[in-house]
């Protein structure tokens, strides 16, 4: 009891001594700020690591954006905002980037953030000894020698990164990469504190050891319970950082998380599938749906292990035409998602959706065409097409699979449902390629169409349906050096609509409940990036 009293007395003292916040430049003049500048948000899955070089999850990246800072951040519309890089030079061959770093950036132990910290971080990401699952990110960025270094064929020192001096960081690419700077907002490209890592090894991300260069530092990290971040006073823009504490709570069950939101224990939570219309009615100022750059699709296996029928483009087209996306979006998901006829999310920066005829056909037209194509391919009532739909255990995937099964039944296809546990599903999808049709989701790594389209090139590790198309490959190769890659992306989508290696189903929306006092959360950022340093809580 004494202890509790002591703690509450301490809390009172802290409350009493709370500083009056200087209005930062993110907060509009005249806003009445709450005394308690905290923000608590929901995580579906626990954070697996807070090491920027080892992270591979979207949630982990979100948290790392608060703790660390790289060359750029994003604004609401996804445009780049200089963070540690104040300016950059690009060589004439478009393969060498020289970044000039700000000189007032500090680690939370007071050391300056230097170009060497970037070189160390990028080298560590590539180093086979680090064994990072995100090492391929450097390969995706086309950093010179990244392939050979990750493969262990060249020493780490051969990686195309250099510190020209303390505040000049140079990256050499092996080919021009139009989206290169877009990729620098992901935490995998952030600097890391060499001294701390060398001293503590695997333990360096513990609250008691970690040193960060972002607006926040790590206060508490209890696996399965909570992660608490505290405002960092050494951050170069600390004067403009209003929220003092950010807490993440992992709650696996979405419904339970919603109850805790309603109890006021969370400021942000995802709305479970199908509940958006009800919550929007009840809480119009809290329930929000915003485009989110991910696509849900059914991938056809056209590789050696796939069924013969799917090697016929007419069958693939018929199956795609047969899916009624409007029903899936309006009756199952009900959260502002959009029917998808392209693999690239419609809201991707600069992307022009090509004219895809079946997108505006009526339901009857699509069905008629689907039946006709199946008949041409030799399938009909006396010789029905039999397929397996593979998905990983989840009630949402199941609902969609059942709907698709019914849609396909109407065009004379007998589909059975194969439901596998996550890891088994991944094995069958990515390693063994043992499936007919598999549900798949893809989220953008950066806000540019190539993040989607590159996954379907014949050399991609993500091309689990083993679809190889020379024309598509050529277009994607051309896009890397073209003055205007966007027209290539549109063309690539057209090829996909003609060849149908997968049936796009819907484009994601981020459907959340957000406390109406939390301001400054981006509402247009399709990557769903957010920066606590730009946010604040208003008074009741």
């Amino acid at each position: 009891m004494k202890l509790i009293l002591a703690i509450s007395a301490f809390a009172l003292m802290m409350g009493g001594a709370a500083p009056v916040f200087a209005q930062s430049d993110h907060v509009p003049a005249g806003t009445k700020l709450a005394k308690d500048q905290t923000y608590t948000y929901w995580l579906q899955d626990d954070i697996k690591t807070l090491d920027p070089d080892l992270n591979q999850s979207v949630e982990g990246n979100e948290m790392l954006l608060q703790l660390f800072e790289g060359l750029y951040t994003q604004d609401n519309t996804g445009e780049l905002v200089p963070a540690l890089a104040t300016s950059y030079d690009l060589s004439d061959d478009k393969m060498t980037y020289t970044f000039h770093l700000r000189k007032d950036a500090k680690w939370s132990n007071g050391d300056p953030v230097t170009a060497q910290d970037f070189v160390y971080g990028w080298s560590r990401l590539a180093d086979p000894k680090t064994a990072s699952e995100y090492a391929w990110y450097l390969q995706l960025m086309n950093v010179a020698n990244a392939d050979a270094v990750v493969d262990g064929k060249k020493p780490v020192s051969d990686l195309g990164v250099k510190a020209l001096d303390d505040y000049t960081f140079q990256v050499t690419l092996n080919k021009p990469t139009p989206y290169f700077r877009q990729m620098l907002t992901n935490a995998s490209s952030f600097p890391v504190p060499e001294k701390v890592i060398e001293k503590f090894g695997d333990q360096w991300t513990r609250p008691e050891n970690i040193v960060t260069d972002g607006a926040y530092t790590l206060e508490t990290w209890d696996v399965g319970s909570k992660i608490v971040l505290k405002k960092s006073d050494t951050y170069w823009d600390a004067a403009n950082t209003t929220l003092t504490e950010v807490t993440a709570i992992p709650i696996q069950d979405n419904d339970q998380a919603l109850r805790r939101y309603e109890a006021g224990e969370l400021d942000r939570v995802q709305i479970p599938a199908g509940q958006y219309p009800r919550l929007k009615k009840e809480y119009p100022d809290q329930a929000v749906s915003r485009p989110y750059s991910c696509t849900y699709a059914y991938r056809f296996n056209v590789g050696p292990k796939g069924p013969e029928a799917l090697k016929d483009v007419r069958v693939r087209k018929a199956l795609s035409y047969g899916i009624n996306r409007d029903i899936i979006v309006d009756k199952i998901l009900k959260g502002g998602q959009k029917p998808a006829y392209t693999w690239t999310h419609w809201a991707t920066a600069g992307f022009t959706t090509p004219d895809i005829p079946y997108a505006h056909w009526t339901d009857q037209e699509r069905m008629a065409k689907a039946k006709e194509l199946l008949k041409e391919a030799g399938y009909g009532p006396d010789h029905p097409l039999k397929l397996r739909i593979m998905y990983n255990t989840s009630s949402d995937h199941k609902k969609i699979a059942i709907a698709v099964q019914q849609f396909w039944k109407a065009i004379g296809v007998n589909a059975t449902l194969d439901n596998y546990e996550w890891k088994v599903y991944l094995d069958k999808l990515n390693q063994q390629h043992d499936f007919d049709v598999a549900r798949t989701g893809w989220c953008a790594d950066y806000n540019e169409a190539s993040t989607y389209l590159d996954a379907n090139t014949s050399w991609s590790d993500q091309n689990s349906g083993e679809w190889h198309n020379a024309e598509f490959d050529a277009v994607m190769k051309d896009s890397k050096t073209a003055a205007d890659p966007q027209s290539d992306y549109t063309k690539a989508e057209q090829i996909m609509a003609d060849q149908m290696p997968l049936a796009p189903i819907y484009h994601y929306a981020k459907v959340d409940m957000i406390n109406s006092h939390i301001k400054g959360i981006f509402d247009k950022n399709v990557m769903n990036y957010w920066y606590a340093k730009d946010m604040y809580r208003t008074a009741n």
Partner: protein
């Protein structure tokens, strides 16, 4: 007695060894790897990962290295999924939480369960009996994954008395809902076992003798009936205690307590081999230990049993 305990502890070693080997093999037979993710990983990165975690070694070598590290250094290795944590860390963080709410649940279940059971037996066929039986059957049929959301609905959303989740060692308000949710079904079982065994004992010869001697009812119940009536309860309590203190995934998931139950289930789903082995060994050891404790308590309570 000492010899008996030593003998039992000696047989625990081969049991644990068999447990470790069987779990290790089963785990490796299961399809999927700790490193598979939604994005296909290039083969060279996968090779680096396998090398880092020793999965490129032959299976017998993996098992022997693992056993050596556990026995010689008490080191359960790094987690394959929580990259910044070792298994020792994960257990050290989660087990105290589980142990706290598990022990509290155990005490609650025993106190309430035995009281309900004894009351029901003494006042057989009275309204008290029906009430006690009703309550315990009600508690039994309400599994904790139904209890947990109902408790949150009532105590958090409606009454605003208690937090809907989270954990703090210094604030008991966080303990109450997990303890209620976890203890009810055990409490119900204890009440039922106590009631039926109490009824049996109350009908036995030595109680009739005691009554014939004219002993007061209270003395008969507490002196002569309770001790033998508790024997079946005790044999139930051993495994019940172990399963309570090794955690419940439902409690951890609903109340984000951060206990070990969630780590156990997650490690299996994530194929986090090291965490799974660590928790399995912990569980196995506790089970063996508490079965031994139960047997010792048995000998102490029941004069017919001697070792």
């Amino acid at each position: 007695m000492i010899v008996y305990i030593l003998k039992r502890l000696a047989t625990a070693i081969p049991t644990l060894l068999a447990l470790v080997i069987a779990s290790y093999l089963l785990m490796h037979i299961a399809p999927g790897s700790p490193f598979s993710s939604e994005r296909g990983i290039p083969p060279e990165v996968l090779a680096n990962l396998n090398a880092k975690y020793g999965l490129d070694q032959p299976l017998w070598k993996q098992i022997t290295t693992y056993l050596w590290n556990v026995v010689a250094h008490f080191d359960f290795g790094p987690s394959f999924v929580y990259k910044d944590r070792s298994v020792n860390d994960i257990i050290a963080q989660g087990f105290p939480v589980t142990l706290t709410y598990g022990s509290l649940s155990f005490i609650t279940a025993v106190l309430v369960g035995v009281t309900l059971g004894v009351t029901a037996a003494i006042k057989r066929n009275s309204w008290l009996d029906y009430l006690a039986v009703g309550v315990s059957i009600g508690a039994q049929v309400l599994p904790n994954f139904v209890m947990a959301p109902i408790l949150v609905l009532v105590f958090t959303l409606t009454l605003h008395w208690l937090p809907g989740g989270g954990w703090s060692f210094s604030d008991p308000r966080f303990w109450i809902l997990p303890v209620i949710a976890l203890s009810t079904s055990y409490m119900a079982s204890i009440a039922r076992i106590t009631r039926s065994s109490m009824l049996e004992v109350l009908g036995s010869n030595h109680i009739r003798t005691a009554r014939a001697k004219g002993l007061p009812n209270r003395k008969i119940i507490f002196r002569h009936a309770l001790k033998p009536a508790l024997l079946p309860v005790i044999s139930y309590l051993g495994p019940a205690f172990v399963s309570m203190i090794t955690g419940s995934v439902i409690i951890d998931v609903y109340f984000t307590t951060g206990g070990i139950g969630k780590s156990f289930v997650d490690s299996a789903l994530n194929r986090d081999y090291a965490v799974m082995m660590g928790v399995t060994i912990l569980l196995g050891t506790l089970t063996i230990l508490f079965n031994l404790v139960v047997d010792i308590v048995y000998g102490w309570i029941d004069p017919k049993i001697r070792y």
